[in-house]
Amino acid sequence: MFSLQGITKGVHTWLYSNMSSTTALVVECAIVMLLSIGLFAILGLVLVLMERKVAAHMQIRLGPNRVGPWGLLQTTADTLKLVMKEGLTPDGADKILFNLAPFVIMIVAMLILAPIAFASGFQIWDLNIGVLFVTAVSSISVIAILMAGWASNNKYSMLGAMRSGAQIVSYELSAGLSIISIVVLTGSLQISEIIESQRNGWWLFKGHIPAVISFVIFLIAVTAETNRAPFDMAEAESELTAGFHTEYSGMKFALFFLAEYINIFIVCAIGATLFLGGWMPLHIGNWEGFNHIMDYIPSSIWFFGKTFFLIFLIMWFRWTFPRLRIDQLLNLEWKYLLPISMFNLLLMAVVAIMGWHF
């Protein structure tokens, strides 16, 4: 059976038997770096194409279908175009911050990649505060957006960045609270343990009502956190042209664009890990036969399947709903999502203490 775990184990033992442990560690780090950069590139291409196809089909169009078979090479061609373009820096811009911002946003996205378990035993860094690490690091991305908005010396960018700041800071609360409600159930912050605790069923099903509520809140909050429509206040092209990245062009723009999609992937991966069992196949209680059949599907396919399902949901939101207004956006968070998620956390605590979950 195909298993990523076997490959990593094999590489690991081979490296350590042929080199000194320090060299082996360095080589392993290099491999991880290359792999994560490669993953980023591929994800960017795939997700952009997926978004365009999803959008097209919802809008009774065909979408890209000229470059390559079924338009598969369209995003590659787009990337090539962006690479060729000149990365302008406006005259009045704060040069250092302006050029730094796209890299900061990418670095943040890369950092969050660390604790995500892509398959059984295939994880960069299984640190014991995985979930906390993710919530902590993801909030840095707002700094990059503020940097970009401030440094552009453009009023649209400035407004977009300010909106984005208010939005991300507030939505982090309910995203955090809904994550915590799962942590309450598992009693651990470690990603691998959270996944392990779902061996006999995903938390979405095991935790029933409070888990479903926190899943919905999580989805809404992360949509807002990644600045996606209907919460794309930071860009809001009919109001602010392109918001915080109005002044960016060429590859610098591409990094922002890429980071948006990587962030979607990451938050969906976290959602899949917490609520849908990560790489854990669909197991139902102690139906041994059923569970065994499900185990035949490789764990990486389970993980990516779940993640892409969530990504599809977020794309579905984007292509259906109108945008909220900035004050309504904050109203939604502070008047609806936050009270509900706090109440839900309480409910979850009661459920966990009384052992009412399955």
Binding site: Q59, P230, S238, W319, T320, P322, R323, R325, I326, Q328
Partner: protein, 384 residues
């Protein structure tokens, strides 16, 4: 020292003492190249945070001096250029001009031509409202309705293409009637369209009207009272949303409008949602008008016999019609020659735009987009 840009953008103003001073306002330019303005409208907006303090429309980016051009064109020729004013209701513009010429020459238009004109008018109105519906949803950030609206609109443009020969700037109406007879498939096609339209219109409610986000974005936004709507000279759906009776088709019926039954849609709220509802309900009324007329197109000539060279008698002539955006008035002063001495178009968009500041002041930046979307501005109509 202040830069020219800063002064132009009114960031700097002249103080009563005569010195230049920084007002501390955040002035942003919406347009002339901006995704929200559907054209080259330029709004200079003073913001206080997210709140709009002042709106100043700058016009003239697409001014082609159509009125002046018409002075050198004959009475047959000038009609075509009015298609380029409010290009979404091009047919209705042509209609207004042809009616004015007919009024001057006292041409009796055959009944068949009148019915065809009204049918085309209502089709144009639906097509225009369809496009507005999609574009307004796009202003509010929903992209999908735009494409769905175009699906139905495409059917109308197909009908137009078949009978008139063009899809947008038809130039189908000539003084005395219409240019060609309707296509043999005309009635059939329209019936197909009505069936399709009726099966799809409920989706509009599902996707936009009922949507909680849309309702929150538009209800209570961009409100204008009845009195203000009258004093700003608003017309069309904008005025009717505030409860002003302004439908020219009802108040001053022309052609066969006094023989068909339809309601003048009136709302009282005067906000963006009311304007939205007026337009959506108007589409239903237009469908009803088409249904009443489509099987009753009388036989006869499609064009009255007219002289080769039209000469309006000396005098002043005024006609008005209800376009998709409001009241369009055509005012011709004739000196008795083959070309008009002066032509003035009273376009609905200009007056409606003038009420924008009143509507959107004090709202958020997002409200401005919602208000602008429901005003249904067509910039060439404002600038001409």
């Amino acid at each position: 020292m202040y830069t020219t840009t800063e002064i132009l953008e009114q960031k700097i103003q002249v103080a009563p003492t005569g010195e230049l001073q920084d007002t501390g306002d955040l002035v942003i330019n919406i347009g002339p190249q901006h995704p929200a303005t559907h054209g080259v409208l330029h709004l200079v907006i003073t913001l206080d945070g997210e709140t709009v303090k002042k709106i100043e429309p700058h016009l003239g980016y697409i001014h082609r001096s159509i009125e002046k051009m018409c002075e050198s064109l004959s009475y047959r020729q000038f009609i075509y250029s009015t298609s380029r004013m409010d290009y979404l209701s091009a047919h209705i513009n042509n209609h207004a001009c042809a009616m004015c010429v007919e009024k001057g020459l006292q041409i009796e238009v055959p009944r068949r031509a009148m019915v065809i004109r009204v049918l085309m008018d209502e089709l144009t109105r639906i097509a225009s409202h369809e496009l507005w519906w999609g574009a307004m949803a796009m202003d509010l950030g929903a992209f999908t309705p735009f494409f769905h609206a175009f699906r139905e609109r495409e059917k109308i443009t197909d009908i137009m293409e078949e009978s008139c020969g063009a899809r947008l700037t038809m130039n189908y109406i000539v003084p005395g009637g219409v240019m060609n007879d309707i296509h043999p498939d005309f009635q059939q096609k329209i019936k197909e369209f009505i069936t399709q339209f009726k099966s799809k219109i409920y989706e509009y409610d599902e996707m936009v009207t009922g949507n909680i986000i849309f309702q929150n974005r538009t209800k209570g936004v961009g409100r204008i009272s009845k009195e203000d709507a009258i004093s700003y000279g608003c017309s069309g759906p904008v005025a009717r949303a505030s409860g002003v009776r302004s439908d020219i088709r009802k108040l001053y019926p022309y052609e066969v409008y006094n023989e068909v039954e339809f309601d003048e849609i009136l709302e009282t709220a005067g906000d963006s949602f009311a304007r939205y509802m007026v337009r959506v309900r108007e589409m239903h009324q237009s469908i009803s008008i088409i249904e009443q007329l489509i099987d009753n197109i009388p036989e006869g000539d499609f064009q009255a016999k007219t002289k080769a060279v039209l000469k309006l008698p000396k005098g002043e002539f005024y006609t008005r019609v209800e376009t998709a955006r409001g009241e369009l008035g055509v005012y011709i002063i004739s000196e008795g020659g083959t070309t008009p001495y002066r032509i003035k178009f009273r376009s609905p968009g200009f007056s409606n735009l003038s009420a924008l500041e009143h509507m959107a002041k004090g709202g958020k930046l997002g409200d401005l987009m919602a208000t602008m979307g429901t005003l249904d501005l067509v910039i060439p109509d404002i600038d001409r």
